[in-house]
Structure formats: structure tokens, C-alpha cells
Symmetry: C2
Subunit: 106 residues, 2 copies
DNA sequence: GCTTACCGTAAGTCAACACTTACGTTAGGT
DNA sequence: ACCTAACGTAAGTGTTGACTTACGGTAAGC
């Protein structure tokens, strides 16, 4: 149930903005916090949550802590989501056939 | 930004349990609430959130309200996630090459 | 028509959590 | 050695939201 942490992590809008910024490449905390409407410590706390969800991982470069996207949590989340995707497609097909049946019976 | 609602909806554990039950097929509210550690009105409120996120849709059968998985929200969420999946793979490849380079230079 | 399932909604409560400011730590520059 | 930059963490606060009980509405059975 590791995808649970990933979902709760990505549920927060600020955390999503941080995560989306990392999509363009690795960034230190200061760069990530710049432009965001919250303080830098808030960004650190968000990064901690993202890290525990295996969505990001950090790497120290001297005084800087450079964060980047971690494929692990992303992969687990995608795998969980694909479960539903398949059954949703099946349900969709069934729905179409049922509706088509109604249309034909008119 | 429709995926935002889907993420906040799936962030809640109880809502995930409801959603996962719907994976096995359409269910009325009573069946979904049975076995869950929360009251039936709570399940109704959760279903409302899932519905607004386009993750489920309901259909009235007399007094019953039968809920089933809606592919719309699921598709939007998957599309958003795939954005990161691609860049995460690129980053992963770059990381592997960088690490391999270090290994060779030893 | 009356009762009984089956639901959704309103109102209120309590805990989680997203913020803030203040502080401690580490690394680099002069 | 001192200062500064770049962080993480601790502690406290306000608000969101996940629950409860109570109530109103609709459809089916007798």
C-alpha cells in the first residue's frame, strides 16, 4: 500500500507545484521555494512528505540539497492505477453495448 | 486541472476502499457501506466527492442508487501521471549513465 | 394509505495538516 | 575565527475535512 502515501502526497496543490517543477529537472530547495506563495521551511516539509512517498529523492551538493523525481513511487502509483484502468475499460465496453442494445430496441 | 480533484479524492483511505470495491463491479450504496468501519451517510458523502472527481457515476434503479467506476477521471489522472513517468524515465537513464561513469573512473 | 427500505443532506464535533516564526546545523567564503 | 548562505526541525496556530446523529425525500410492498 505504498501508493497510499503517494496519493496523499500529490493531493496537496502546493506539493503538486513542487513536484511539477521537478519535472523540468533537479532543483535545490531554494530554487523550488522561489516563486511559491509559501515560505521555504514549508517547502522543506513538503519535500519530506514527497520523499517518504518515494516520489522524490535528495542528494547533497555541499550546502545545497538537490531534489529530483524518484521513479519508484511513480511506478507503484501507476501500477495501482492501471488495475482500475483495465476494469474501467471493460465496464465502459459493457456500458456501450448495453446502451446500444437499448437504442436498437426502440 | 481536473486531476487535482481525482487525487484529493483518492487520497482518503476510506474513499480508496470504496473505489476498490467498485472495481469488482457496480454496487448500490448499502452494499458499499456494509463491512466498512464508517456509517452509511459517510459513504454517501465519499461517493459525492468521487462523483465530482469523475471517478464514479451513479444510476438510479428505483430506490437504489447504483454506483460504478467512471473512466473519465481515471483517464485524466493517468494522462497527467504519464507526463511525469516519461521524464522520470529519462532522469533515471541519465542517473544510471552518470553512476556508470563514476564506476568506470575508479 | 401506511410502513419500510434505501438514500442524500444539514448541522455539529474533533483531529489532521498545511502553514508560520524561531532556532540549530553544516558548508563555503574572506 | 567569523559571517553568510542554504537547509532541516521544533513548536505553535488556524483551517480544512472526515466523521457522527438527526432529518427529509422517494420508491416498493402489503
Amino acid at each position: 500500500m505504498a501508493y497510499g502515501n503517494a496519493l496523499t502526497a500529490l493531493a496537496d496543490p502546493t506539493r503538486r507545484r513542487i513536484f511539477e517543477r521537478l519535472r523540468k529537472g533537479p532543483r535545490p530547495v531554494g530554487k523550488l521555494a522561489a516563486g511559491l506563495p509559501v515560505s521555504r521551511p514549508a517547502v522543506s516539509q513538503h519535500l519530506k512528505v514527497l520523499k517518504e512517498a518515494r516520489l522524490v529523492h535528495d542528494e547533497r551538493e555541499g550546502a545545497r540539497h538537490v531534489y529530483s523525481i524518484d521513479p519508484k513511487g511513480l511506478g507503484q502509483l501507476r501500477a495501482w492505477l492501471d488495475q482500475f484502468w483495465d476494469s474501467a475499460l471493460d465496464a465502459f465496453r459493457a456500458e456501450v453495448e448495453k446502451t446500444a442494445g437499448k437504442e436498437n430496441s426502440k
